[in-house]
């Protein structure tokens, strides 16, 4: 059922904007490039676009490799007062902007071309006083490849409908593209502890800002990052949350 709903979002995006399965596959390819360096990742093999397309169809147009893994796990964040943070003698990361937004079933006015991040993203960037183009790194919740594409567009990294072209040719791979994403391998390759899949996004963003990501995927001089996610179902009802983080 979950995959079906995301499948409908992908199908609609393809119909409306000409997005292709090859373009969606690039998102998984980028995640796998990062996961190869993460010894804890469940899937460490680098995959190709063709391998994604050749994996079994689950819910058309989403293949098995368009879907995240399912794992155990969890995470925690310690948020402290500035004076305590300074005593810890650790690289400091501050919350610059944050926003949440629900998207419901709209009484039947269904529009699958956007998600709640279309509200939470711009609000978080506005509070932080920065633009998507300023981001050195992005953690994008990735239950499915289409989940990433939708949020990239809604956060404003590219125009609506341009997500397919944006993610192509390794644009999300650290050291290769313009927007390194999910450098731990994300939910697509590293871990996805059910409804705790969001916190791992914030954790990897903090690692990047502290310069503590794996050297092979660490973004040089990473001083601004965003983490965003949705909970619920992309194609029916969900909540979206976005946080903009900065290095002190």
């Amino acid at each position: 059922m979950t995959t079906n709903v995301y499948g409908m979002v992908a199908k609609r995006h393809m119909h409306q904007f000409g997005t292709t399965s090859e373009q969606l596959a690039w998102i998984k390819v980028a995640a796998s490039h990062h996961a190869q360096w993460n010894e804890h990742a469940m899937l460490r093999n680098v995959v190709t676009v063709q391998e994604v397309l050749d994996s079994p169809m689950v819910s058309d147009p989403l293949h098995r490799l368009d879907c995240c893994i399912i794992s155990d796990g969890g995470g925690a964040l310690v948020v402290v007062k500035p004076e305590i943070a300074r005593q810890l003698k650790r690289p400091l990361v501050k919350i610059m902007g944050a926003a949440e937004a629900p998207k419901g079933q709209m009484g039947g006015d269904v529009d699958l071309s956007y998600c709640g991040a279309a509200w939470s993203g711009p609000a978080a960037f506005a509070e932080a006083g920065v633009k998507p183009a300023d981001m050195k790194y992005a953690s994008i919740y990735d239950s499915f490849t289409i989940t990433v594409l939708m949020q990239l567009e809604d956060l404003g990294f590219c125009a609506k409908g341009e997500g397919g072209r944006f993610v192509m040719d390794g644009n999300l791979i650290s050291g290769v593209g313009k927007l390194p994403f999910n450098t731990d391998g994300g939910g697509l390759c590293n871990n996805h502890p059910a409804n705790r899949g969001g916190i791992t996004k914030v954790i990897e963003a903090v690692r990047q800002l502290r310069g503590e990501a794996h050297p092979k995927v660490q973004v040089p001089n990473c001083d601004l990052a965003v983490a965003t996610g949705i909970g619920g179902l992309l194609g029916s009802r969900h909540g979206a949350a976005t946080v903009v983080l900065g290095r002190e």
Binding site: M8, K11, M57, S59, Q105, G107, G108, L112, S236
Partner: protein
């Protein structure tokens, strides 16, 4: 491929008239008496303007807004936009999934459930 057993829908006082009509083969929706807009799923209060709403029988005609066939499980989930306006989540039944397309005309077909009232699905028009 429509051999899948569909779980009986949860019923409550608000939805009871809908399923009672469904058992008689009638597909009801609700429309606002104030703003005149139809919505889905049926609610006592209009989700757009909070006005009073009333039942009406829908035409059962619609077009596919989006769909996703799960071939191995043997069903196709879809959003169908009704002729009356609202878009509803449903299943496309008795139709080869390879023959489907977004924008395609479909018509209502009630499908039996496991021990409950039938639920509205759609098939190629």
């Amino acid at each position: 491929m429509s051999e899948r057993k569909i779980t009986a829908p949860a019923n409550n006082p608000e939805s009871e008239p809908f399923y009672k009509a469904a058992e008689e083969g009638k597909f009801l929706i609700r429309r606002c008496t104030a703003c005149k807009k139809a919505h889905w799923y049926p609610r006592a209060v209009c989700p757009f303007c909070f006005g009073e709403t009333a039942w009406e029988e829908a035409s059962g005609k619609g077009v596919i807004y989006s769909y996703s066939p799960m071939r191995r499980a043997g069903y196709t989930l879809a959003y169908v936009t009704l002729a009356e306006g609202p878009t509803m989540m449903t299943n496309i039944v008795d139709t080869d999934p390879d023959s489907l397309s977004i924008g395609q005309a479909v018509k209502l077909k009630f499908v039996p459930t496991d021990g409950g009232p039938p639920v509205p699905c759609f098939t190629a028009a």
